[in-house]
């Protein structure tokens, strides 16, 4: 979307969305603005900048500082321009002697209790108080520091990323309001009255111990140096900025990387970013230190066996070694004996190149990506029902939702910036239904009304979604017109007959789901009758044996209620990693070329063959779990893994380790020696998002630019390494910039034909499809029709998972994420985010804890049919009895030692969310953990030996 405002300017108050215009005159300048616009904003739009302190354009007007007073013809007094709406015919004066004197007097009072240390203040050069003192022409302060003041107030340095210095505070409450309005956490407050007023975190705690989630909204809102990044205190003000895209979750926030030379001083959420609109979370805002962490791999390394130390070599030697080994394996074991894994953390261009290398260079379709273990069922389910493997909305669309149905997702932790947008809408009165075994934090949204929690048993999603649909159909809540006009009748009739069967009723299903029928009925009515009903879901939907069935069940709900094809509704998969959508779009799956074009489609394959200059296999390749099975069986012998850590993230760790050990050549390209790299023979240094150019595609199909802000630590961007490996293998690739790769993608992918770097520069970002039919992209999908013509209802029979609790394994383990850590933790564990979560724990319900004599902090052995690990106990009521919960951010925790190889029937997405386990108190780590520790120690020693060796030595 084109920007009609300057994202670098603060207009003082938020934009009005009214379509009615009013015209007024400000300092003799006539301007028309949407009705409801403040006089302050109207003036700013006319480039008349009224002094202000308590106003900023991402917060509602507050009117406390009075610095923005103006004179309006026919009105008494001097009203605050931030709280005064512009009106038709209004005549406003922003500067005259009277206003000047008032403003100087106000500034004088502020300055009388403010340390005059501007030259040594960290905000020097970036301080609104300083700017306003200049703007109003303050020349003297008649009140000295003799009386009471706050100059000696103690600093709070508890947060690892920012400092709170109350001596600089002017109590404008911008931080408090940012915490409430932007973030929705309500962690800050103004404590006391009058002179004693002060900003307090939580119950007057320090920031780290309070409810503060360290999103940085308060730091960004602060007009002084009261709340300021520690990096700015240490490094000083940045001297240039580059707009780029965050490499954490699927929200895809835009940030300004504020730089000093090639050093990042801070990441500031970019107001012009359509996904995040100027907001951020603790990860994107602060946790970028991993990019320069001492653990970064800076030199290529090779070795013949994983029992040997690494040898530091040149790029040429490493690439040549890898290519030779891969060719030898293929010569010995056949063309299909090798494959590779693309990364959802890398750019679209890099992902595209890896799958191209595999298909065209390796000559097979053994390519897969980590979406296999997260959102592959989304691709299958949405393609089957709606005709496209993607979510239907923009994030912004939530502003128009009247009811939100959140299933198996924890947005405030896993997609925090979008979680804040949801909370804002909930505070405005939207209704909330949460289907989740745990009581997620969204249910604790301050000022939330009318929430329904459906605490279903893990593994019973399809039973629940069927009973919701049963209520809609049996109570006549469906949208008959939408169904008649937009959906395939034959499929609908078949589905309707199925879903109306009594066995799908909430009453029949409640013994399976554990959710009271009355609650299901109420939830179905709320969703269907809301007006705009929007569904948001996450891995709690996909990571099940019926993940794909559940996605289809969700699409059925949206189709049946006509909640598709407009703002405020839709099916919204919340993607886990930054470029999961993109890695799927780019043809990472073994059965699909870029743009979800099946390899068996002769016409599509023919176009790729023509451009790529080789004949391509028309048979699908192996998926990741099939690669592991084939490796253990001895038919799959080599792998190229870019930017993924399958040894930590994939289920049944011992099975994965056995597979990796069975490989004759494992090439890992990563920024760290991750768990997978410990089994590798070639280690190619990766580059972080700060070190390369490219694009990421977020959960709303938004293609955003990633811009290089510093040179790659090891000298190469990831795409350059793939190009060199391909050339060494004899399949020629010639690109001088990722924009050329995008041009090739656009030429071969029907939904990308209008995408180019030029258009991205012009538009900021583009939501695909972007082609002849949709030249400016597609914010909302399926407005008129579906890519398959009519919406396709799918029969979604509930089939119970085989992973059930029994006498031996009486509890169900479900896994998830927390706010401060990201995925396998390789990045966040190497930042100060460790302050919030330095170990994975097992949450146990008090009833189960009491049965087993468990107390907080006890060591617990968790045993499944896959293995055993040991974690510390936290007794918690967030789950229901019978359910235990953990995260997998720390490799030594071994969370995936216990998850099993049970997977989605359609896509093999692992069933991480359901593992039958037993839990008991233990006194020592598990056998696997002891082996893990010894193996890690050995591999780190091998790495250190390689690092200390001069390049070229040790042959």
């Amino acid at each position: 979307m084109l920007q009609y405002f300057d994202p670098n300017k603060d207009y003082g108050t938020p934009a009005s969305l009214s379509e009615k215009q009013v015209t007024l005159e400000i300092d003799g300048v006539e301007i028309s603005v949407p009705e409801g616009t403040s006089v302050m904003r109207a003036a700013a739009l006319a480039d008349i900048n009224i002094p202000k302190l308590c106003a900023t354009d991402n917060l509602d007007a507050f009117g406390s500082c009075r610095l923005c007073a103006v004179q309006i013809d026919g009105r008494r007094g001097l009203p605050a321009s931030c709280t005064t709406p512009a009106e038709q015919g209004m005549k406003v004066t922003t500067q005259n002697e009277k206003l000047g004197k008032l403003r100087r007097n106000i500034m004088e009072l502020y300055i009388s209790d403010h340390p005059l240390d501007c030259l040594t203040c960290p905000s020097n050069g970036d301080c609104e108080l300083q700017d306003m003192a200049g703007a109003v022409g303050l020349r003297e302060v008649r009140y000295g520091f003799e009386g009471n003041n706050h100059l000696e107030a103690e600093k709070d340095k508890s947060n690892p990323y920012f400092t709170f210095d109350p001596s600089k505070c002017i109590v404008c409450s911008r931080c408090v309001r940012a915490c409430e309005e932007v973030q929705g956490t309500f962690a800050l407050t103004v404590d006391g009255r009058g002179f004693d007023s002060k900003i307090a975190a939580g119950q007057d705690e320090d920031f780290l111990d309070s409810d503060c989630v360290s999103c940085g909204a308060c730091v960004q809102a602060c007009p002084t140096s009261t709340l300021i990044e520690n990096n700015v205190i240490d490094m000083g003000q940045p001297e240039h900025s580059v707009v780029t895209t965050c490499a954490y979750c699927g929200v895809g926030c835009s940030f300004k990387a504020d730089m000093k030379g090639d050093q990042v001083v801070r990441m500031v959420p970019y107001k012009g970013g359509e996904a995040n609109q100027g907001h951020s979370c603790v990860k994107g805002r602060f946790a970028f230190g991993y990019a320069t962490h001492k653990d970064r791999i800076k030199e290529p390394m090779i070795r013949d066996s994983i029992d040997q130390p690494w040898r530091k070599v040149s790029w040429e030697e490493a690439i040549s070694f890898a290519a030779t080994r891969l060719k030898e394996v293929q010569a010995k074991y056949g063309r299909e004996s090798i494959g590779g894994i693309t990364s959802s953390r890398c750019t679209n261009e890099e992902t595209y190149l890896v799958q191209k290398l595999i298909r065209a260079g390796f000559g097979n379709n053994n390519t897969d990506t980590c979406a296999r273990v997260c959102h592959s069922p989304t691709g299958y389910g949405l393609k089957t029902t709606l005709g496209e493997s993607a979510g239907t909305q923009t994030f912004d669309s939530v502003k128009y939702a009247d009811a939100m149905l959140v299933i198996g997702a924890n947005p405030t932790d896993a997609h925090p910036v979008f979680g804040s947008m949801m909370r804002r809408r909930l505070r405005e009165g939207a209704k909330l239904i949460v289907a989740d075994p745990r009581k997620i934090d969204l249910l604790k949204t301050p000022h939330l009304k009318d929430a329904i929690h459906l605490p279903l048993r893990p593994g019973t999603n399809v039973a629940l979604v069927n009973s919701l649909a049963h209520v809609i159909m049996s109570e006549g809540l469906e949208d008959k017109q939408f169904i008649a006009e937009r959906c395939d009748d034959k499929a609908f009739q078949k589905w309707q007959a199925f879903i109306r069967e009594e066995r799908n009723s909430p009453e029949a299903m409640q013994d399976i789901t554990g959710v009271a029928a009355a609650d299901v009925r109420q939830a179905a009515r709320v969703y269907a009758e809301a007006g705009n009903g929007a569904i948001f879901y996450g891995l709690g939907v996909t990571e099940h044996s019926q993940g794909s069935t559940m996605v289809m069940g969700i699409a059925n709900l949206a189709l049946a209620t006509g909640n598709i094809g407009r703002e405020g509704v839709g099916v919204n998969p919340l993607r886990g990693q930054n470029n999961v959508q993109g890695s799927c779009d780019m043809g990472s799956f073994p059965h699909e070329l870029p743009g979800y074009q099946h390899v068996a489609d002769d016409e599509a394959r023919g176009r790729f063959e023509k451009v790529w200059g080789v004949e391509l296999d028309h048979e699908p390749g192996l998926r990741i779990p099939n690669m592991f099975d084939s490796a253990i069986a001895g038919t799959f012998k080599a792998m190229y893994v870019q930017g993924e850590d399958i040894a930590q993230s994939d289920p049944n760790t011992q099975h994965v380790e056995a597979a990796l050990k069975a490989l004759e050549c494992l090439v890992v390209q990563d920024i760290f020696l991750n768990e997978t790299a410990k089994f590798a023979h070639v280690l190619l240094p990766g580059s972080t998002f700060l070190e390369k150019n490219g694009t990421f595609t977020n959960a709303e199909r938004r293609i955003n630019r990633v811009r290089k802000v510093m040179p790659p630590l090891a000298g190469k961007e990831d795409w350059e390494v793939t190009v060199e490996l391909s050339n060494a293998l004899g399949y020629e690739m010639n690109y001088s910039h990722p924009s050329e790769i995008m041009d090739e993608i656009a030429s071969l992918t029907p939904t990308f034909t209008g995408v180019s770097y030029e258009r991205l520069e012009e538009m900021g970002s583009i939501q695909w499809p972007c082609n002849e039919d949709h030249p400016d992209g597609t914010p909302i999908m399926h407005e008129v029709d579906f890519p398959i013509g009519k919406g396709n209802f799918a029969v979604t029979e509930y089939v119970a998972t085989e992973e059930r609790s029994n006498r031996r394994f009486p509890l169900l383990l479900t896994t998830g994420r927390i706010l401060s850590q990201y995925n396998v933790g390789a990045q966040t564990r190497r930042t100060e985010n460790q302050a919030w979560h330095d170990e994975d724990v097992l949450e146990v319900h008090p009833v189960d804890a009491e049965d087993r004599g468990i107390q907080d902090g006890d060591w617990l052995g968790i045993t499944s049919r896959s293995g055993q690990t040991v974690l510390r106990a936290v007794v918690s009521e967030r789950m229901q009895p019978g359910v235990v919960y953990t995260t997998f951010h720390h490799p030594g925790s071994g969370a995936n030692v216990i998850t099993t190889d049970s997977s989605d029937w359609a896509t093999n997405c692992p069933e991480y969310k359901v593992t039958a386990v037993q839990v008991e108190k233990v006194s020592q780590p598990s056998e696997w953990q002891k082996q893990f520790e010894a193996f890690t120690e050995q591999q780190l020693d091998f790495l250190e030996k390689g690092r200390q060796q001069p390049a070229g030595a040790g042959h």
């Binding site: 379709n365 053994n366 073994p590 069986a633 029937w905 359609a906």
Partner: protein, 76 residues
């Protein structure tokens, strides 16, 4: 715990069949399961399951067995 590759393929085929039993018409179910194997399974996986069906096949559910038989001509 590990598993043999063939055991896993048999399990996967049966799981696909179990999730597509409900199409009413058996011929349609067979076609859907067979198409799924055709579209998503690698060549070697199809060859292995067909070879198993031809040599034994006892662990396959009836629907899975019929769907695999549909692939026999091409992958036997």
């Amino acid at each position: 715990m590990s598993h043999s590759q063939l055991d896993q393929l048999i399990h996967m085929a049966n799981q696909i069949a179990d999730n597509n039993l409900h199409h009413g018409d058996e011929a349609e179910s067979v076609q859907i399961v067979s198409n799924h194997l055709m579209r998503f399974w690698a060549r070697t996986m199809k060859q292995q399951i067909v070879a198993y069906a031809n040599s034994d096949g006892s662990q396959l559910t009836p629907l899975a067995r019929k769907a695999v038989d549909e692939l026999a001509a091409q992958y036997g």
